[in-house]
């Protein structure tokens, strides 16, 4: 009875303040809907983010709320507008998301991936670069590359990414006629014919984990060629991109040698992809403080995080700042939490939370959790 009363009350409250929009397709979202939440369809969400892409704490929250909702925010709308007015015959434009910790860079990226999905892009999405270079579980599979001298392979990570790629581009890979342009010989018995569909290449990488890194390399060059030929348009999204330019990784070779990011085959491939020597695509990167160790988190600006090397590599690019909540966004988020019964108590609580969280979305989420 009590809980029902609560529900009725909060329903009434949420109806008083609009915080939701029924516009679920990112293409049609506009400035009027800033600060409003839209709901991702369950199966779309599963397709796009089942293998990573949403931050872990956010995943937990979506599980609690039994729905995946994203807030429509200014940076994402700006990006969509930019993309809509882009000339795809010109070399690709690189966008770099930056901002303080917990301000929603990854979620803005997720929003953009949803947009790309709805718009029929081929999505090349790396959920979190540090997962490869900085996170060392007990059994990190590493091997020396056989095709390229002096480089290190991360076959398991590569295969996992291939699965992610496959699930994100299911429909496109199944239906379309994306063909391989040249023949790849893996070993004496295994090879992939030219003219075979792209999915065959991916399947091969997943089945033969040993060649996963080489498959990714091949895949990326194929994607570039396909895009150049206007057979598909490509959306590249890499979260935590500045990890590639940090001088050291936390990986060790079996001979206890420290590995630099340049010595990993995956780095080579994805750096190749982010060059602007191809067209008919979009590249969205993010520079994140969390992707580098604590002692190098003094500033959140791209020049500092990407270092000189990365900055020169990416130049020219379009920086896009993801900031803290504005008053309107904060209010809408608070009413969303109230609707989900995640936040209770008197209305004064919001003033205090606004102050203590300093309008930082992640802090706000964290502080609401025990309330």
């Amino acid at each position: 009875m009590f809980s029902r009363n609560w529900r009725v009350l909060s329903r009434a409250y949420s109806q008083a303040v609009t915080f939701r929009t029924s516009e679920i397709s990112p293409q049609h979202q506009n400035d009027k809907q800033i600060g409003l939440f839209y709901t991702l369809k369950q199966d779309t969400c599963k397709e796009l983010f089942s293998n990573g892409g949403l931050p872990k704490s956010f995943m937990k929250q979506t599980k609690t709320f039994t729905e995946t909702t994203l807030m429509i925010r200014q940076p994402a709308l700006d990006l969509i507008n930019c993309i809509k007015s882009t000339d795809f015959n010109k070399p690709v434009i690189r966008y770099v998301l930056y901002g303080e910790k917990g301000c929603g860079k990854s979620l803005t990226m997720a929003h953009m991936i949803h947009y790309a999905y709805e718009d029929g892009y081929l999505i090349v999405h790396v959920p979190w670069v540090s997962e490869w270079l900085r996170r060392v579980p007990r059994h990190k599979e590493m091997s020396n590359s056989q095709t390229r001298e002096g480089l290190v392979d991360l076959p398991l990570d590569a295969a996992a990414w291939l699965i992610h790629f496959k699930s994100q581009n299911q429909t496109l890979l199944k239906s379309s006629d994306l063909k391989i342009s040249k023949e790849y010989v893996w070993s004496k018995r295994e090879k992939t014919e030219s003219g075979a569909p792209l999915s065959e290449l991916v399947e091969h990488g997943i089945a033969r984990i040993k060649y996963a890194c080489d498959v990714i390399d091949a895949l990326i060059s194929e994607i570039k060629i396909l895009s150049n030929n206007k057979q598909c348009k490509t959306f590249v999204a890499i979260d935590g991109f500045n990890s590639f330019f940090y001088p050291l990784t936390r990986l060790n070779t079996p001979t206890k040698k420290k590995v630099k990011p340049d010595e990993v085959t995956l780095t080579k491939s994805f750096l190749e992809l982010t060059k602007n020597d191809w067209n008919n695509g979009i590249i969205l990167l993010s520079a994140d403080q969390l992707a580098v160790p604590d002692e190098n988190q003094d500033s959140y600006f791209p020049r500092y995080l990407l270092r000189k090397q990365g900055f020169e590599y990416l130049d020219p690019f379009v920086p896009i700042e993801v900031g803290r909540y504005s008053d309107k966004e904060f209010l809408s988020c608070a009413s969303y939490y109230r609707d989900r019964l995640w936040l209770r108590g008197p209305p004064e609580i919001e003033t205090e939370l606004k102050f203590t969280s300093a309008c930082n979305p992640f802090k706000f989420m964290e502080q609401c959790a025990p309330l």
């Binding site: 003033t351 205090e352 102050f355 203590t356 300093a358 930082n360 502080q367």
Partner: protein
């Protein structure tokens, strides 16, 4: 002797002497202090002077007392002499004129010559006149024949019961005066009133000190009851002097007096800067600008200067409490200490500066909430032989 006599006179001749006019408290005083001509004549008849002068033998008690008094007098004399010599020496040491060397100069010289960091001022070296150093003694309460001076001598606490007695007299006099006023159908004097808000009754200890007598708890209660009854009379202002002898003024609340007036910057905004905001090891200053929008800057950063929620709440509390969070701008410079110390210092600084911008009742609320109180606690030192300030090593049987 005179006290005793006046007592008898009053009892014998109430009607002739105590006319209605003389019912004022002042006249009562007169009676109790000095007997008039007429009364002394009456006394001559009443007192049996012959028998008294016959046994003019000094009593044993008097003898013992005289001895003790003599000893004490000599002692005090010696002390006085020593004090005066010491004072002259001190004056010479300080290179000043011994004749014009006052007690104030003595205190200053002692503080200069014997600098002391002892926390309790009472424990620091001092040089005071002997009367202040040695406790006062009661003078002889009886004459040479062993007859007590005081009419209440046999109560054992003459001065205390004298106070109650006087109070009762005053009450009676006031009642009579009231009756008279009613009979004459006069209106009470509107100007006469007693202001008791700013003072309290003497505490038991203070009363004991002023009476040079020890009193019991219940006696102190009785004192208070009688005095309250006296005060409750509408004409209590007539015996104001008597009442004020037993009251002590309260210390005025500090902030009520010293709230600074804000100054104005070039944009015309009022601002107040509080220097020396201290807590633990943190030191800083806080500036508050009045028409503002709730901006906070701490060492050039916003509230994210503090990572944790606890210090942020500390900074927020005075603003939320006074409801000023959206109408002032806060600027702090703080250094030293850790986050909680810094946050505490800022909290105090904000509350202290806000005094100039809030209403009086809010000020009192803030006082009650403890916002205007400095937190003087410091880190307690580690003790040798144990792992921390208070922590003892794990007890182990062997």
């Amino acid at each position: 002797m005179s006290l005793v006599m006046s007592f008898t006179v009053k009892n014998l001749l109430p009607a002739t002497i105590c006319s209605i006019r003389s019912n004022f408290p002042s006249s009562i005083h007169k009676y109790s202090t000095g007997p008039s001509k007429t009364s002394s004549n009456v006394l001559d008849h009443l007192t049996d002077w012959e028998t008294l002068s016959k046994n003019r033998k000094t009593s044993k008690a008097m003898k013992a007392y005289l001895e003790r008094a003599k000893e004490h007098d000599e002692f005090m004399k010696r002390q006085h002499l020593e004090f005066n010599i010491g004072k002259r020496h001190l004056a010479n040491m300080m290179g000043e004129d011994p004749e014009t060397f006052t007690q104030k100069d003595v205190d200053r010289a002692i503080e200069y010559l014997f600098p002391s960091g002892i926390y309790d001022p009472a424990a620091r070296p001092l040089m005071k006149p002997p009367e202040e150093v040695f406790p006062a003694r009661k003078a002889a309460e009886f004459d040479e024949a062993g007859r007590p001076h005081h009419f209440l001598f046999y109560t054992g606490k003459p001065s205390f019961f004298k106070v109650l007695y006087d109070a009762a007299e005053h009450i009676q006099a006031l009642n009579k005066f009231e009756d008279k006023v009613i009979r004459k159908k006069a209106t009470p004097d509107p100007n006469g009133s007693l202001k008791l808000e700013g003072s309290v009754w003497l505490t038991k200890e203070q009363l004991e000190q002023s009476l040079v007598e020890s009193i019991k708890e219940i006696e102190y209660e009785n004192f208070k009851v009688v005095m309250e009854r006296l005060v409750s009379s509408p004409y209590a202002y007539l015996c104001k002097d008597f009442i004020e002898k037993y009251r002590k003024p309260l210390a005025m609340q500090r902030f009520a007096l010293e709230i600074p007036k804000p100054s104005y910057d070039e944009e015309g905004r009022a601002f107040i800067t509080t220097y020396e905001c201290l807590r633990k090891k943190a030191r800083g200053e806080v500036t508050i600008r009045y028409p503002g929008s709730g901006k906070i800057s701490i060492n050039g950063k916003d509230i994210t200067y503090f990572e944790d929620i606890q210090p942020r709440e500390q900074v927020m509390f005075p603003l939320i409490f006074s409801g000023m969070q959206n109408s002032v701008d806060v600027e702090c410079h703080i250094e030293g200490g850790g986050p909680s110390g810094q946050a505490g210092a800022i909290r105090w600084g904000i509350a202290w500066s806000l005094r100039s911008f809030v209403e009086k009742d809010m000020l009192e609320k803030m006082q009650v909430a403890g916002l205007l109180t400095r937190d003087h606690r410091r880190r307690e030192r580690k003790k040798p032989g144990q792992p921390g300030a208070r922590k003892k090593p794990t007890w182990k049987k062997r």
